[in-house]
C-alpha cells in the first residue's frame, strides 16, 4: 500500500466542504501528510478573455482567497498546508491538479454549493470518485 503523503482538499465554502477540511486534517495528522487546499472558480477561460471585467475577476479571486485562508487557518501548526486557486470546470481542474501534483488522496464534501439540493452526491464529487486514480474520501 502506498503511503499517503499529499492530500488534496477541494474547497468551496460549503458546509460539507468544511467537514471535509476537518476530516482531511485528521487524516493528515494520522499519516503525517501535507495538505493542499484547492479553490476552483467556475469560470470559463474564454469568458475571462472575452468579457469579464477586471473588477469581476478581482471579486472572484477575493472570494476564493477568503475560503482558502479560512481553510488554512483551521490547520494546526504541526501540519504543512498550502492553498491554490484555479479557474475552470471544477471536476476537470481538480483531477488535473491531482494528477500533476502527485496527490495520494482526495478528501471532499459529498456535495458543495451546486444548485440541485435534492441529490445526495453532487456532480463534482461523483465525477471525482469515478475518474480519480487515487483514493477519494467523501465526507457528508
Amino acid at each position: 500500500m502506498d503511503k499517503i503523503r499529499r492530500i488534496l482538499v477541494p474547497v468551496d465554502g460549503s458546509e460539507s466542504s468544511d467537514r471535509a477540511i476537518a476530516q482531511a486534517i485528521t487524516f493528515a495528522d494520522v499519516c503525517e501528510a501535507k495538505l493542499a487546499f484547492l479553490y476552483v472558480a467556475n469560470i470559463n477561460q474564454l469568458a475571462i478573455n472575452a468579457c469579464l471585467s477586471d473588477a469581476i475577476l478581482e471579486a472572484v479571486t477575493k472570494a476564493g482567497n477568503v475560503i482558502l485562508d479560512k481553510a488554512l487557518a483551521d490547520v494546526p501548526e504541526s501540519i504543512t498546508a498550502e492553498g491554490f486557486a484555479e479557474t475552470g470546470s471544477p471536476a476537470v481542474v481538480i483531477l488535473d491538479f491531482a494528477n500533476s501534483e502527485g496527490i495520494d488522496m482526495i478528501v471532499m464534501g459529498s456535495r458543495g454549493l451546486g444548485i440541485v439540493k435534492g441529490v445526495l452526491l453532487g456532480s463534482v464529487s461523483q465525477y471525482i470518485v469515478e475518474q480519480s486514480k487515487c483514493p477519494v474520501l467523501v465526507v457528508k
Binding site: M1, I25, T26, L120, V138
Partner: protein, 153 residues
C-alpha cells in the same frame, strides 16, 4: 483532532475490495484503530426474480445456505489473514441487501470510517463505481473512502 477508532471494510473477494483491506490495515496501524470486515451474502439478489425464494431462510435448501456461508467465511478469513497481529480485527457475515446491511452494521458498530472498493463483483463491468459503493456514498453517516484496484486506474 478526531481520530479513527472503528473502521468498517465491506469485503467480497474482488480486486478493489482487497485494495480496501490493504488501505484499512495501513490506516489502522497508524491510528491504532480496530477493523471490522463485513461480508454480505446477497441471497435475495441472487434469487430476486423468483418470488418463491424471497425469504431465503424458509426456502433455500440447507446446502445452498451452507455453501454461501462457507464462501463468506473464506472471503472474511482472507481479509483477516492479511491483518498483522498488532491490529485488532473482526469478521462479520450477514445476509441481505449489501448496501443496507453495511449501513446498518456501520450504525451498530458506531464506525467512524468506511473503506470500500470502488466496484465489487457485480455484473455491470462497464461502471466505474458499483451500485453498493454509490449507495454508501449517498447514505452513510460517516465518511466513506473509495479505493480502486490497480487495473482500474
Amino acid at each position: 483532532m478526531a481520530e479513527y477508532r472503528h473502521i468498517l471494510v465491506p469485503v467480497d473477494g474482488s480486486a478493489s475490495s482487497l485494495k480496501a483491506v490493504e488501505q484499512a490495515i495501513e490506516l489502522a496501524g497508524l491510528c491504532d484503530a480496530e477493523i471490522n470486515f463485513i461480508h454480505v451474502a446477497n441471497l435475495n439478489g441472487v434469487m430476486g426474480s423468483y418470488p418463491a425464494f424471497v425469504s431465503p431462510r424458509s426456502n433455500f435448501s440447507g446446502s445452498i445456505l451452507e455453501d454461501v456461508v462457507e464462501i463468506g467465511r473464506k472471503i472474511l478469513d482472507q481479509a483477516l489473514d492479511m491483518v498483522p497481529q498488532s491490529i485488532k480485527a473482526k469478521g462479520h457475515c450477514v445476509n441481505g441487501n449489501p448496501a443496507s446491511a453495511i449501513l446498518q452494521e456501520a450504525e451498530v458498530l458506531n464506525v467512524d470510517l468506511i473503506i470500500v472498493g470502488s466496484r465489487g463483483l457485480g455484473v455491470l463491468k462497464g461502471t466505474l463505481v458499483g451500485s453498493v459503493s454509490r449507495s454508501l456514498l449517498g447514505n452513510a453517516n460517516c465518511p466513506v473512502l473509495v479505493v480502486k484496484a490497480e487495473e482500474q486506474k
